[in-house]
């Protein structure tokens, strides 16, 4: 291999420059602007003033913000849990030689490439409390049908179901990739040692999958905190987030404050808090991974 010692910094810079410019313009600048706007009473126009930490104080004192935060946490916990469990379960099943394995792998991954808008609209029809096929089926079986998106206690659950349905296939594909990197000889050795299926899963599969698991949980948490499309589409557009704020997740609250109520400064403060929360969770996970993620099982 040729030495890089004599490569000019100009050359290095010229290769880095396109992505650096993109990073500065599309990532770093918007983050910086969000921080800046969060310290003002910006309402969309040129006339605004510095309000210090006023927007943050307002957010922490607001019932709506606290409620949105609580709903987002509930949504995140259940969504991530089921995405990972289902993703791993189907990966384990479809890693074996089952009939139509390729077909099922493709089918389960398919919802992930569909637009959230289309999925949301389709499920709105399915979950329609009066005309929807699901409730008609439940009624046919003599089961009292729930209100789904129209019910205070079922609306968030419905959004969770749709989100998990749409996205667990993605994690399944990640786990499938991970399973195929685990050395078969480790399973053979475990079998010789008399390890049963559960023991093999806990001692070989899980440690072997731990880097993928760590990545999947991190991404799933970040995505769950960012949920918006499903709530917007399935609970009434710009007046959504209901009933009675039951699905008003944090990003939806940010959207409503910014674009429906012209409180861009306040909405930016909420975004900064969201960024901080996601950062802290990711940081804790990153630090904690040393205790359970194994990179040397091959």
């Amino acid at each position: 291999m040729a030495s890089n010692k004599n490569t000019s910094w100009w050359i290095v810079l010229s290769f880095l420059l396109p992505s650096l410019i993109g990073f500065l313009i599309f990532i770093l600048a918007p983050i910086g602007m969000a921080f800046g706007i969060s310290l003002t009473n910006f309402a969309g126009g040129p006339r605004f003033r510095f309000v210090g930490l006023g927007n943050f104080m307002q957010a922490f004192g607001s019932d709506a913000f606290r409620n949105s935060f609580r709903i987002t946490v509930v949504f995140t916990v259940w969504t991530v849990l089921f995405q990972i469990i289902l993703g791993m379960a189907f990966a384990l099943i479809l890693n074996r030689k089952v009939i139509l394995r390729t077909f099922f792998r493709g089918t389960l991954f398919l919802p992930n490439v569909l637009s959230s808008i289309a999925v949301g609209l389709a499920f709105m029809l399915i979950f329609d409390p009066r005309r929807g096929p699901l409730n008609q089926l439940l009624q046919y079986w003599g089961i009292h049908p729930p209100l789904w998106l129209s019910g205070e206690h079922t609306a968030l659950l419905t959004i969770i179901i749709v989100t998990v349905w749409q996205s667990f296939g993605y994690y399944m594909v990640l786990f499938l990739g991970g399973l195929q990197t685990i050395n078969r000889s480790l399973y053979e050795a475990a079998e010789i040692d008399g390890a049963g299926a559960v023991r093999r899963f806990l001692s070989v599969t899980l440690p072997g999958l731990s880097p993928i698991l760590f990545y999947s949980i991190t991404i799933a948490i970040i995505r769950a905190f960012q949920v918006f499309d499903q709530v917007y589409i399935m609970t009434g557009g710009q007046l959504g987030g209901g009933p009675a704020g039951a699905t008003s997740v944090l990003v939806f609250d940010i959207y409503r404050n910014g674009f429906a109520q012209f409180r861009f400064g306040y909405a930016a403060a909420e975004s900064v808090v969201l960024l901080g929360v996601v950062f802290v969770i990711t940081f804790i996970q990153y630090r904690g991974q040393t205790r359970w993620v194994t990179y040397d099982v091959v």
Binding site: A43, S150, G236, G237, A244
Partner: protein
Amino acid sequence: MKRSVWILFLCLLLAAGVWAGGKSEGTTAQKAGPVTIIYYLWDDPSLKPIVDAFNTAQKDIVVDARYIPSPDYETKITTLLTAHAEMDAYMQKRQSDMFAHFGNGFIEPLDGYLSKPGVNREAVDSYKDAVTMDGKVVAFPWRGAAYYTYYNKKIFEKAGIPTPDVYVKEGTWTWEKYAEVARKLSTGDGTIYGTTVYFWGSNQLFMESQRLKPIIDSKGKIDYDDQIHRWFKLRKSLEEAKAMWPLIDMKVTKTHYSKQFYDGKVGMILIGEWFPGFMISGRDQNLLKGFTWNDWGVTRLPCDSKSYVTQGNPTFNHVTSYAQKKDPAFKFIAWMGGPEGAQIAAKAGVLPATITPEVKQILSKAIPDPQSLEYFTEPKRAFPMLMTRYGSRLEAFLNDLMDAYLLGKVTDGEFDSKLRAGLEEIVKTTN
């Protein structure tokens, strides 16, 4: 080194090309011929004929109409304005947003244009309070302002009860009577609802508007009485009796009020002056089920006071402050709010901002019977809904409060304290 300088030079050239690409459109020289203006509005079926008529009526200005789906209009127009998207004029859907738009410097004051000779400013003068901010006229109204009771005569016939116009004539069309009629019309199983009132926060304020209460006035003074709570209670009791279409259901399932009426599933609908346009559209697309064009009518809103008051805000257009073609944009919105535009609007089945005998004549074809036409066009007081800078937030707050109340999360005992706390929060935290 020479090679690396060349590579860097190429990169800079590429970047410069990208920047230059963004500039090229604005520097293109104007071509001779008609001026094209960009105009934003929502996809209401009654609006397209008006734009088409303007484009046909003259050759100097071409209106390039950009239609945004109605449910997303308010937020998308805000985004476009904030981004200074190319736009010469636009229609305001949630009228209270005008305050924030003007405060943000997106709207061009029209006084200079209005003072020019030949401008018919009758519509502006008729709704001066609604379109004036800080002493400046900032909008040109084209559609009038009034909510009405629209009813399906077939459903009344089946229930064997008189239509609301009979009670109006008797002077007994009160909210009590409205509730009684709604209960009688309903089948009680959700097949036929007695009435429907859409989920917009402003539509929960009929009783309050009739007491001439702004809830929060333009100076931030909180001013309301027990009529808000009374309406919330009435709505809840009617929904529980399946006499009113459930608010949460129509919000979540996005069931438009016009569909409820077209399907022959509601006896009465309390909605604004644009609704005959929807009826024309429904008739032309064969959407009316179980009734025909002659089987619907329009009369006053229920009202408890002797002097009749309805609620409503005129619908108006703005010229954007950063428009490239302000004069042609003003000419278009002035035409729309003038006598010619009024005739086209009337033909499309909406109440124009100015009513002339010619307009009334045209409206007679958009309204099924002469008596309904009289009620539709009679002079009346329409109290403005949420027309202050607090209006947009108040609308959202009332929406949330109504959801919470209907679901029992806010009890009757807590109602007033929750309402007051919410209003105080809005006053305190609105810029």
